[in-house]
Symmetry: C2
């Protein structure tokens, strides 16, 4: 049976148009299924960063703010990310962590909302930082937090709804939420939809502009391979930019930052989402890493991601003794992100054994094994091997 | 006359115990007097970052969060900075920009202040981001901003004072404010003193613990040479840590971040000042750059800084035609940071000509030329040459 799946994997890899992109990354014979936590290193990034260090910082020093384009990096890199999430230019700015951007987005959205709307709905199942930060934003702005599961959002919307903060893909289960429908419902109810794209950007089409999303944030170190803790980004739809009122109005978001006037006057456009001095080393590593997307269509990534998760689930079902794991990743494609999450006993021991045998995923307490599928560098043979070794470990 | 000053410079450089540290930096024959904006590159940093990229990210990938010590970098690097600003261990955490840390510090300080105290005093002459961010903090917390010059702080203190945000060294004039006396006055009035150390850390003794400072923030890319936009830091005095209530309670400041519980419970100690996922590439470049401080006493740095600024001012007075420049840097050592600021006409043209002739300073509109003095890599011959070329440019 293993022959059959291995044979199918070989054929699928041979037919895979994205297979060639694997060469762009530094990989070894590990099956790396943790790119949904930390993307692999694009091969050319160290040389580029060496140039930034030795030439731009070491030799040009302060001149690089202009001559090497450091100053405009946040918007420039934002425009590189934009097509990956379906945004036109001038709406994304890179910088700060996801948490800080959630804060900017939620506070600013609550200020954009109509007077009298005092509720911030937060995905109760989301990655916890979103809830913690939204709670802080609500406390500071006088709003009320309403925790709600994404499926229950439509019923919870009403005349008090100011902002709805949702995660596009659930970090534990890999469930993909219906961004177009939920955004439409939130907007129809008069609220603003803020999406966290950490687990979707770079893995599937997002369509921020097409679906009328109001604000969005995301990290760049998962499917975007920007490096550990690389800067996050903030999307502010063009229609909201003129009234976007940041709770973190740092000097680099000023209309004339070098005038250094005591009064704050915000810049136009996405620059308004900036805060302090951009973190250049991390930012330019991210910029370089985005080169791997040249010529890649997100729809092709999505197609391969679904084929890979299907195939991995099929191999798991075939190899793993019955009853040892249960998939908590939705079977329906429309509800699936780009990871497979398996409920399992004794996850700590199982994942340790997998890692020792060259299959790297991670776990989410108490009982979920996560396997991230990154179509630019994971192949079908990887999926087959991971399932086979998982079965071995669970039998052992 | 030039002979005399050049001769004195040579003798001073020969006797300088810190002269040997210059070798640790990548420098050329430029006189680099802009280290108060962007510190020079420590020579060994590119090799270290190459290792972080190729080995830690490229090969170990996700395992590096534990195995390469990435997860604990914010506190570990904070403890490396601590002795440079007179702080005991466990009180400084690195991450985010200065602006974001000002926000954390001012909001948290306003929550630490006694009930009913509703005023936040802000240095009216300070670097503008502090004022912008404090204004946002005040708007969100319901406090009132009182702009005040540092000299007028004692008179402005009273029963309504919650927080006083001050810059240790003025970024334009280079004036050093009296941190011990002002902190004592603020505390005696029942308020909390928050200091911005961007222009003092690494240039002169700060004595955070000794002088009872409540909270402090600072950047690391000026005198600490951490690289362009390298992460900033937050100091929370130990006595305030248990009640420190961050407005940015991101998941990495949670007591058990990987439990990923919906309820927020803050960690103990400096970890509480963290927000999102640490920005590892920039952070580890900073960590490496701090190696240049091994064996350096800040008192020796301060002594050389004062000798250099004195000598530079003396050369300027001797070389530059009368009336062309006026020093706005205080003559008294107790009031001087580590830069010389000269008021001058036509600063844009003058600084451009200086840069073309190999003397790099910068300007602050409308009429100030800034020359930063970084004692680890600037020598007396540099100061003499800069003054000589400045005189040439002003005569030309």
């Amino acid at each position: 049976m293993s022959e059959t799946y291995a044979g199918r994997a070989a054929a699928l890899d041979a037919a895979d148009e994205l297979a060639k992109y694997r060469e762009l990354f530094t990989l070894d014979d590990t099956v790396y299924l943790d790119g949904n936590s930390l993307g692999a290193l694009p091969r050319h990034v160290p040389a580029r960063l060496q140039e930034v260090l030795t030439r731009e910082w070491g030799e040009l020093r302060i001149r690089s703010w202009e001559e090497s384009g450091w100053w405009t990096a946040p918007e420039r890199i934002g425009d590189r990310i934009a097509p990956l999430v379906g945004a036109g230019p001038g709406q994304i700015v890179v910088g700060d962590s996801t948490s800080v951007n959630v804060f900017k987005a939620v506070v600013a959205a609550s200020r954009l909302a109509a007077q009298g709307r005092d509720e911030i709905l937060v995905d109760a199942t989301t990655f916890p930082t979103d809830g913690y930060i939204a709670g802080s934003a609500a406390r500071l702005t006088g709003h009320r937090i309403v925790p709600v599961a994404p499926a229950d959002v439509p019923a919870a919307l009403g005349p008090r709804t100011a902002v709805v903060l949702l995660n596009h893909v659930d970090y534990r289960t890999g469930r993909l939420h219906d961004l177009p429908a939920l955004t439409a419902a939130v907007r129809a109810a008069g609220g603003l939809a803020v999406w966290d794209l950490c687990h979707s950007a770079g893995a599937l089409p997002v369509g921020l502009d097409e679906h009328g999303v109001d604000l969005a944030v995301g990290c760049t170190y998962k499917y975007l391979n920007g490096g550990p803790g690389s800067p996050a980004y903030l999307y502010v739809a063009e229609r909201h930019q003129a009234a976007f009122d940041s709770p973190l109005p740092g000097w680099t978001s000023h209309a004339d930052p070098f005038a250094m006037t005591p009064g704050y006057a915000p810049a136009e456009g996405s620059v308004r989402g900036r805060v302090g001095t951009p973190d250049i080393l991390s930012m330019l590593a991210l910029e370089a890493s985005l080169d791997v997307w040249d010529g890649v269509e997100v729809t092709a990534v999505r197609a391969k991601s679904l084929a890979l998760t299907d195939f991995f689930l099929e191999c798991v079902a075939a190899y793993v003794p019955p009853g040892r794991v249960t998939s908590v990743t939705p079977a329906a494609h429309a509800e699936r992100g780009s990871q497979v999450a398996l409920r399992c006993e004794d996850t700590e021991r199982v994942m340790r054994a997998l890692v020792e045998r060259g299959v790297v995923g991670d776990l989410r307490r108490p009982d979920v094994l996560r396997f991230g599928i990154t179509p630019l560098y994971v192949g079908f043979a990887d999926a087959e091997r991971a399932a086979r070794i998982l079965a071995d470990v669970l039998e052992g």
